[in-house]
């Protein structure tokens, strides 16, 4: 419960971040959700009762209505008679791939731009950061929509689009930190020893940024999962019939009164996954980020 100065000091000595994550109930819950999702995604073919692409003739009523959850179809069927549960499990793959790949690219781009601009002043800084400002001023979703409209969307294109939109924040954060780090005495000391820019950037500044980057990467996964869902919700995400949690909702959104399970079950899945990443990210921030320490 109560943490002290001494404890925070000790924390750095005790490198087992995972162990410390596990001690926090919320973070633990988040980790469990993430693990379950990852396992579900990896072992999807063995877990699902049905082929997620198969449109069962008996999956629709005679009138063509989807079936509510029942013994055969645990989460009911969708509007073309597919098993919702199987689609959700496969949809986890999409969400995770996007979350990890898109966000990974965003993190790499953002970190590189931020760190470079933060350390090198002058025109490098100006050019990169003005560009970042520009991207900042872009309404992100609008940009994503336009990009998605230009390129025929597919899993990878969607990932790229999200990456193009999402690197900005991390670039800003990394920039600010890299800037203040490069003014710190230990960087000055490094320069006084004759170290080159590459060494200072990657051996000294980068390690200090790692915790920030890790935290933003985790939080960013949550954002990314949500953005993919939103793009899919607007019908410009991953192409059907590949299931993604967002496009399941997109396909079924108008049925929220007549077949609410088709909207609210995948909605709950998105919420749970985003929440899990946010919880873990936040806990990591507490554990890794010295400026945030002792806030609980």
């Amino acid at each position: 419960m109560s943490r002290t100065v001494a404890e925070t000091r000790a924390s750095a000595a005790n490198p087992s971040v995972i162990a410390r994550l596990l001690r926090r109930p919320l973070a633990l819950a988040g980790l469990i959700v993430i693990c379950v999702t990852v396992l579900a995604a990896v072992f999807a073919p063995w877990l699902v009762p049905f082929d997620p692409y198969e449109q069962f003739f008996e999956g629709l009523t005679i009138e063509g209505a989807p079936l509510p959850p029942n013994a055969q179809f645990w989460f009911g069927t969708d509007l073309v008679g597919r098993d919702l549960f199987s689609r959700l499990v496969y949809g986890a793959r999409t969400s995770l791939v996007i979350g990890v790949v898109a966000n990974g690219i965003a993190v790499i781009i953002g970190s590189l731009i931020g760190i470079t601009a933060g350390y090198f002043r002058g025109w490098t800084d100006t050019v990169l950061m003005r560009f970042t400002d520009l991207m900042m001023a872009f309404p992100a979703l609008l940009l994503a929509i336009v990009l998605a409209a230009i390129f025929t969307p597919s899993l990878w294109i969607v990932a790229m689009v999200i990456a193009m939109v999402n690197w900005v924040q991390i670039a800003r954060v990394v920039y600010t930190e890299a800037r203040s780090l490069s003014e710190r005495d230990f960087v000055m000391a490094e320069r006084a020893m004759g170290a080159g820019a590459g060494r200072i950037l990657f051996r000294h500044i980068l390690p200090h940024l790692l915790s920030t980057i890790i935290v933003w990467a985790t939080l960013g996964i949550a954002t990314t999962v949500l953005l993919e869902a939103t793009l899919s919700f607007l019908g410009i995400g991953v192409q059907p019939p590949t299931p993604s949690w967002g496009n399941i909702i997109f396909e079924n959104q108008t049925y929220f009164t007549s077949a609410p399970w088709l909207v609210f079950i995948p909605g709950a899945a998105i919420l749970a996954l985003a929440l899990a990443f946010n919880l873990v990210g936040d806990a990591l921030r507490d554990i890794l980020d010295p400026t945030q320490q002792g806030r609980h």
Binding site: Y53, E54, Q55, F57, L60, I62, E63, G64, A65, L79, V80, G81, A149, T152, P153, G235, I236, Q239, P240, P241, F250, E251, Q253, T254, Y255, F256, T257, S258, A259
Partner: protein
């Protein structure tokens, strides 16, 4: 019995109304609104596809079918109070043809003499239109055109007052002034429009309602929920699939649902220039692979299976034609005959609005059953249209959402741009890139048969053309959509008015409010 005038009706739409300029408006939402605000020489009998004169009192067609002379009614006034004359009719059509107007309908007037010069901007007006006297106007055509009366019933031929057009310039579409049964009294962009009865309308007793309120930006589902609450009278976008079964089974509403045909066909195009769709066997196999019954079930049975381009209510429909039945076995054999026993990979383009992607997925599954792996490309409608207009882009397109709905009830309307050689050009609408010179010649021949007595013969010719098309199978027709609409209990009128083939979703001029009776 006499129907009393008065009362108000609320209609909702999802999309904003783009323009009410008759020369420009060309979507099925503003189409009928414009019809109520403006009048043309010709119109249809309410609820049917039968032509009748509107502001024309009478007309004469010359023997060779190239000269049409119209006599105008007396007492037709614009909403601004000025009397409508033949000059206005001439001005309006010339305005549509004038390239600066950018009218999408200019091409319909291609048969009028002087069209080439006028549409290229070389001439100011159409030499083929003559104002004989303020009440008489004459059209001379460069070739016989059997559809010309239908063309004059199009919105693009509706009459606008020159002075108002010039006053508002490019914004005329937001300040429409016509001679129709209603006039626009309020337009709050993005929110609502209000139509009010035009007191001086030439046709006494029309319209029945005093006021129509259009609320835009309303999701169809929301509109229906509000209709169930008694806040809305007609959901302009129809009954959304999501609510269809519910209202159909609801004793309170099921009697208010009206069903009617539409001049619509939903089809899959196969690009005959892209292998392997250049093989007729493959195209036929696709026709046989599609399980239309399942697709109908997915859309809650709101359509009938189609087997030819023309919809059943169109003259020229081949009622006894059986088409390609659902037969995956045979389809697989055809593929094997074409040397594709192992199937192949291809792409199926589709517009990204519900329910189109769902239908595409059903087709995808059917194709898979005969070994064709079609990846779905679900894009914004405009991008699908763009892909269709490129020769080597889209192997297959599901037409839903962008499908052909006839401009007027004539078989020719389903041929030229979408199956004829003229449409098989970059940027054209013939997404199958099907071009059969013989059939084009036959079509031209049929269209020059103006004589009303030969109508039956002309119909037979067209029927023949479409059956020939089906032999080559550039399309796989899937279904003809049935319109299902609903109205609130307080709105009355013949059922046919609510599924009027041209006045979609209702014939605004003719329906009435029960509560003032």
């Amino acid at each position: 019995e006499e129907i009393k005038q008065g009362g108000s009706m609320t209609v909702t739409y999802k999309d904003d109304v783009s323009t009410l300029d008759p020369a420009i408006g060309y979507d099925w939402q503003n189409w009928s609104m414009i019809k109520s605000l403006f009048d043309g020489l010709m119109d249809y009998q309410p609820g049917t596809t039968e032509l009748r004169p509107e502001i024309a009192e009478s007309y004469e067609i010359s023997e060779d079918g190239t000269v049409f002379t119209f006599k105008l009614r007396d007492g037709v006034k614009f909403h601004n109070g000025r009397a409508l004359t033949a000059e206005d009719v001439k001005y309006s059509i010339e305005r549509t043809v004038n390239p600066e107007t950018q009218s999408p309908g200019a091409g319909f007037f291609g048969s009028i003499k002087g069209f080439e010069e006028a549409s290229s901007g070389d001439a100011d007006g159409l030499s083929g239109i003559t104002v004989v006297d303020p009440h008489t106007i004459r059209f001379e055509l460069s070739r016989p055109d059997a559809t010309f009366l239908h063309v004059l019933a199009l919105n693009f031929a509706h009459v606008v007052p020159k002075e108002e057009v010039e006053k508002y310039g490019a914004d005329f579409g937001k300040h429409p002034v016509g001679s129709g049964a209603f006039k626009l009294s309020e337009w709050t962009l993005g929110q609502r429009l209000v139509f009010e009865r035009f007191e001086d309308y030439w046709n006494a007793g029309v319209p029945k309602l005093d006021q129509i309120v259009f609320e835009v930006g309303q999701e169809p589902v929301v509109a229906l929920l509000r209709l169930q609450n008694g806040e809305v009278d007609v959901p302009g976008d129809g009954i959304p699939p999501a609510k269809f079964i519910e209202v159909k089974n609801d004793p309170e509403f099921k009697d208010l649902i009206i069903q009617g045909g539409q001049l619509h066909t939903g089809y899959v195009t196969m690009n005959v220039t892209i292998a392997p769709f250049d093989k007729v066997e493959v195209r036929q196999a696709v026709n046989m692979a599609i399980n239309k019954d399942r697709i109908l079930r997915i859309i809650n049975g709101r359509a009938v299976a189609a087997n030819q381009p023309l919809p059943p209510s169109m003259p020229g429909y081949a009622a006894d034609y059986k088409g390609y039945g659902h037969d995956p076995e045979a389809a697989r054999k055809l593929l094997a005959d074409a040397g594709l026993a192992d199937g192949f990979d291809t792409e199926l383009y589709v517009a990204n609005t519900d329910p189109q992607p769902r239908i595409a997925q059903a087709i995808q599954q059917d194709l898979k059953a005969i070994g064709i792996n079609a990846a779905i490309k679900s894009l914004a409608q405009a991008n699908v249209i763009a892909a269709g207009g490129e020769k080597d882009q889209a192997p297959m397109i599901w037409s839903g959402g962008m499908a052909w709905i006839a401009d007027f009830p004539d078989p020719s309307n389903f041929y030229g741009p979408i199956l004829g050689c003229a449409g098989a050009v970059p940027g054209g609408w013939n997404w199958a890139w099907y071009c059969n010179a013989d059939l084009d010649a036959k079509a031209a021949e049929a269209d020059s048969m103006v004589d009303p007595d030969k109508a039956g013969e002309r119909e037979a010719m067209w029927r023949d053309i479409y059956l020939k098309v089906m032999e080559d199978a550039p399309w796989a027709p899937v279904f003809n959509e049935e319109r299902f609409t609903i109205r609130s209990g307080r709105i009355g009128g013949d059922d046919r008015l609510f599924v009027d083939p041209v006045h979609i979703p209702v014939h605004y001029d003719e329906v009435y409010a029960k509560d003032v009776q």
